[in-house]
Amino acid sequence: MKAFNIYLTGVGGQGIGLLSEILLRGADHAGLRVKAVDTHGLAQRGGIVVSHLRFGERVYSPLILEQEADLVVALERHEALRGVQTALKDGGILIYYDTVWQPLDVRLNRKEQVSEETIARQCEKGGIREIKVFKDDLQDARMQNVIVLAHIDKHELIPNVKQEHYLQAMNDLMQGSMLEANIKLFEEELKAAAFLG
């Protein structure tokens, strides 16, 4: 298999770390050779968190070359656009959770908030497949990552990694009520997504 590069991005506190571990361990369960690294300077304090995931035999560094990611997974709208611009290759895939955590300059009224249209326009330019995800009745923001995971699975965005592998990974990482809640949400979202086509 040719190297497959995933650039995962969002804001500190959104649950990037867990999603990254699920994708990484899912790929491992699928028999892929994996490398990854999280880059989080001061992420806990509302900064950007990025996780690089690389699958394949001829992969050395855990870091992806700029504009060479096959897939960008973003948990926030501004970070989706930033991810497309810095990381994604032409013809790649963007999946993002369409929530907004306004950056400082937007809150201070110094910069415009990024719109969904801007992202759509940029994706079109780069021949990028754009998948936008949102669930408006979600109780806990820290479970947005599971909604995104369900859609990664539904669209089979990562070659060779199947639903059973993601479930195995979730089983590795969580237990008790947290595991139950996450699996339930994952399966419900898959069903809902299947219904919508």
């Binding site: 001061l42 304090r45 611009q85 400082l104 809150r107 994706c123």
Partner: protein, 651 residues
């Protein structure tokens, strides 16, 4: 104290390794994995692989001071229940103290390890530079978390210079698997020679994850005998003893030169290229291998595992068999200089290409950086990078912020009202440093741990017009803040110190400190800040919770009017830590504030001056709450002139 019952712990048979996700780390069963007696493989980060290597090497004493990129080493240690840890671990008050504790244990015969971040070595340096003058009978490894790219440090200093300064060998792994293997090799070497060895990690080696193959571990009973013997010395570097001690240090370094030549840690990647070769090390090696995937003709590669002292014979051979050799080296030209020296001495004719311009000295050698460096070196070797068709527009930057509910935010919002425009504010290291950002812009200069009070003291000299206020966190107070405070008192500097007390070492992941009421292992009496300051003889000390904004502002005003050293303790527990703890409690009820749109007069105090990230601007100019962010602390209520923010309510 160290409990030796671990020796009797029966083998933990785990069929399926469930790794529990908690606080961003994989906990609980990780502890069981790390103590497994059978060989196993697991996806772990470099920091975790290091802990298994320490266990397999029978390291008995481990010390540290928290700092990125190394705190996850302690998180992995925490995953092992204290009574099962086959070693003693502590977070010491600073890196120098940590180094001294580890050294003390090692001259008593216990293999020890100290780990800390890059700039931590500056703090530890007074002790560190002496280490190789000593006969460290137990062996001692210094694990450095260097930070090329300055991801979370105030500079990207190249600590290999300290290795040259102190005649200390450096091993440099590139991946988690190598972190594991290199530590074990370092431990062996250190014990054998009785000398310190540096294991130099960099940020993305610490945090890289891959499946690591671990060997088995046979627990061994702890030998508690204190083996210190002055006859093994001298241990007092004074007068006539200094030269023999230095001679021994240099002799040992020579011995390591021999070791370097036959070390299994060096590696040659032979592409059959007689013309071009590259000498590299650490993470840049992995970047290089990725980049070379795109080259039709690949240079041969010599990857150094021992980077100081360099393996002379190996390098000589490599130089002799290649017409041109590029030294691909992150940060400074430490190895390049050594290689050029060697080529001169041995009259080797091959062309050595080191750093070409200033940019080569700056930043992490990521695959992108290595591509650029190699393009500059040999333009024909690699194809031009493709540029994608997506336009690069201006996405608003997202600097780190103080968290919702953070006591520092309330403090800055209040203190700003007590300050004049001409006043000078000096920040220190910690979450409160973020006060320099808009909208507060409090803290106009910052240097390093604990420096604020003394810098502020200097700024107050000859200065009768601009008052000086300095900030310091509580962990930093103990780490390196005290000498500056004592100096201010002793030399009568007329400044105001605001001690930002949040009860934890927040920025690095909530490690306990001397005023937290716990050390890493157990409950410990809090060292009270106020009594400590008063005990020193500071006459003017105020103390208040930062949520009491108007009182805090009044106190700061009062303190600044006094013509002597004064201190205001501005305390509020870290709300990120507090909220996480609350969420874990059964029956926890989330709370949020709201904005009464009828009352809101769009003064924007909440979003533009108080600046909690919860406040969100809508298209029509109204302000709403981001329900994902608000923790319902209510610290914002007092900031709204039109009282439009409603009391926190359960949701």
């Amino acid at each position: 104290m160290l409990n030796n019952t671990f020796c009797q712990v029966p083998g933990i048979g785990i069929k399926t390794a469930k790794l529990i996700w908690q606080r961003g780390a994989i906990m609980k069963t990780l502890g069981e994995l790390l103590l497994k007696k059978e060989p196993f493989s697991e996806i772990v980060m470099g920091n975790t692989a290091l802990v298994r290597a320490m266990i397999e090497s029978y390291t008995r004493v481990i010390t540290s001071y928290p700092g990125s990129p190394t705190p996850e080493i302690a998180e992995a240690i925490r995953a092992i229940p204290q009574e099962k840890r086959p070693f003693y671990f502590e977070f010491s008050t600073n890196e120098k103290v940590a180094t001294e504790v580890a050294y003390g244990a090692a001259v008593n015969g216990h293999l020890s390890t100290v780990f800390f971040k890059s700039v931590g070595l500056n703090v530890a340096s007074d002790t560190f530079v002496q280490l190789n003058h000593m006969n460290i009978i137990g062996g001692m490894i210094v694990v450095l978390g260097d930070d090329p790219g300055a991801n979370s440090s105030q500079n990207e200093q190249d600590n290999r210079h300290y290795a040259c300064l102190s005649y200390t060998p450096v091993l440099e792994p590139a991946s988690p698997q190598e972190v594991y293997a290199f530590y074990k090799e370092a431990a062996k070497l250190s014990r054998e020679k009785g000398m310190p060895i540096i294991l130099r990690l960099t940020t993305h080696v610490c945090h890289a994850k891959e499946k690591v193959e671990f060997e088995g571990w046979v627990p061994r009973a702890l030998d508690k005998t204190p083996r210190f013997d002055a006859q093994n010395g001298p241990y007092i570097p004074m007068a006539a003893d200094v030269f023999p001690m230095k001679r021994r240090a240099l002799r040992r370094l020579d011995e390591v030169k021999d070791y370097a030549n036959r070390s299994p840690l060096n590696q040659v990647v032979d592409h059959g290229n007689k013309n071009r070769g590259i000498i590299t090390m650490g993470l840049p090696f992995l970047s290089l291998m990725d980049v070379l995937e795109r080259a039709d003709v690949k240079p041969d590669v010599l990857k150094l595992g021992v980077v100081y002292p360099i393996p002379g014979n190996l390098i000589k051979e490599f130089l002799e068999t290649h017409a041109e050799v590029k030294v691909l080296e992150e940060l400074d030209n430490v190895v390049e200089k050594e290689i050029k020296l060697l080529a001169y001495d041995r009259q080797l004719a091959s062309k050595i290409i080191g750093k070409i311009d200033t940019e080569d000295w700056i930043g992490e050698y990521t695959p992108d950086k290595v591509y650029e460096v190699l393009k500059k070196t040999w333009p024909d070797m690699l194809p031009d990078r493709k540029v994608h068709s997506v336009a690069i527009s201006d996405v608003p930057a997202r600097p780190a912020q103080m968290c919702p509910g953070c006591g520092h935010r309330s403090a800055f919002h209040a203190i700003k009202k007590a300050l004049k425009n001409t006043d000078i504010t000096v920040a220190d290291i910690g979450c409160h440093t973020l006060g320099y950002l808009p909208p507060y812009q409090v803290g106009e200069l910052m240097m390093c741990m604990g420096a604020s009070t003394a810098i502020g003291s200097g700024m107050s000299l000859f200065n009768d017009t601009r008052r000086v206020v300095v900030f310091l966190g509580d962990a930093t107070f103990f780490h390196a803040g005290l000498p500056g405070i004592i100096n201010a008192l002793f030399n009568k500097h007329r400044i105001t110190l605001i001690l930002m007390e949040n009860g934890t070492t927040a920025m690095t992941g909530h490690q306990d400190h001397a005023a937290s009421g716990r050390n890493f292992n157990e409950a410990a009496d809090k060292i009270p800040l106020r009594q400590t300051l008063e005990g020193l003889g500071i006459k003017h000390v105020w103390e208040i919770d930062t949520y009491q904004q108007s009182q805090l502002a009044a106190m700061v005003k009062e303190a600044m009017e006094i013509d002597e050293f004064s201190v205001v303790i501005a305390r509020h527990p870290c709300m990120l830590k507090f909220t996480r703890e609350q969420r874990r409690k059964p029956g926890h009820q989330a709370r949020r504030v709201d904005i009464d749109q009828e009352k809101c007069q769009r003064i924007y105090e909440c979003i533009e001056r108080f600046g909690c990230p919860t406040f969100t601007r809508t298209d029509n100019g109204s302000i709403v709450i981001n329900p994902d962010l608000c923790i319902g602390d209510g610290s914002c209520l007092q900031t709204c002139p039109s009282e439009a923010i409603t009391k926190p309510e359960a949701v």
